[in-house]
C-alpha cells in the first residue's frame, strides 16, 4: 500500500490513474463504443446505465465558453474514486463499474465524464448512477477552468 505521509505530488500512481480513470483530453465516442462492446461477453448483464458529461458553451458575462481545462490532485482523486467504487459495489448489486474523467482541455460539445455501470437488473445500475455522478462532482478533487474566446478564463463553479 501507499505511504500515508510524505507523499509527493506526482508519483508512480499517476501512471496507474491515467490508465484507469483519467483520460487526456476529450473522451471519444469510439472509446465509449469499445467499452460497451467489451461487455457483450458478460452475458449475465441485463442493463447498462451510462452517464456522459458534455462541456457546455455557456455564455458568462457575454463570453462563450470554448473549452474547459481540467486539472486534478491525482493521488487524492484516485483514493476518492476507489472509495466511491467500493461504496457503490457494497450498496448496489453491480456487475461492472467504470469511471473515466478527462484531464486537460475539452472543447464545448465534447465529453469529459463517462460513468458506465452494469447490473443484472436495471434498477441497480440506474440508482447507482445518480449517486456515483453526484459523489464525483462533490468529492473528487478536480477543477475546471472555463476558457473563453480570447483565452481569458474563469474557474468553474459546480452548481
Amino acid at each position: 500500500m501507499e505511504k500515508t505521509s510524505g507523499q509527493k505530488y506526482g508519483t508512480g500512481l499517476k501512471e496507474h490513474l491515467h490508465k484507469n480513470v483519467f483520460v487526456n483530453g476529450a473522451i471519444s465516442s469510439v472509446f465509449i463504443a469499445e467499452s460497451i462492446s467489451k461487455h457483450s461477453a458478460k452475458k449475465i448483464i441485463g442493463a447498462h446505465s451510462i452517464f456522459l458529461g458534455q462541456v457546455r458553451n455557456d455564455v458568462i458575462n457575454g463570453n462563450e465558453v470554448q473549452a474547459i481545462d481540467y486539472s486534478t490532485f491525482e493521488e487524492m482523486a484516485q483514493e476518492k474514486f476507489q472509495e466511491i467504487r467500493e461504496a457503490a459495489f457494497k450498496k448496489y448489486s453491480l456487475t461492472c463499474l467504470h469511471i473515466h474523467h478527462s484531464i486537460g482541455r475539452v472543447n464545448s460539445g465534447e465529453i469529459n465524464l463517462f460513468v458506465f455501470i452494469s447490473s443484472v437488473h436495471r434498477i441497480d445500475a440506474m440508482e447507482a448512477s445518480a449517486e456515483i455522478v453526484e459523489r464525483i462532482k462533490k468529492e473528487v478533487p478536480v477543477w475546471g477552468k472555463e476558457i473563453f474566446e480570447d483565452e481569458r478564463y474563469q474557474w468553474k463553479i459546480n452548481s
Partner: protein, 77 residues
Amino acid sequence: MEVNILAFGQIADITAKREWQIHDVRNTIEIRKKLEEEFPLLRSMSYMIAVNKKIISEDVQLEEHSTVALLPPFSGG
C-alpha cells in the same frame, strides 16, 4: 520540520506555484496563517485543506514531510 505544500485550481493562480516546501510550522492553523500572510488574496478565498490526502475539518498536527494540499471548491464531473 519541512512540510510539502500543493496548490490547485484558483489557489495555484494566486500562489503562482503548485508545489513547494515550507518550514517551522507545527499544525494546520499555523500553515493557514503563514500562507495568508504570504498570499493575502487567500483570505478572500474559500478553500479546504487536505493533510496527506485527507480533508481536515479541524486543526491537525503535522509531521516531517506531511503533504498539505490547498483545495478550492471542486468543479469536476
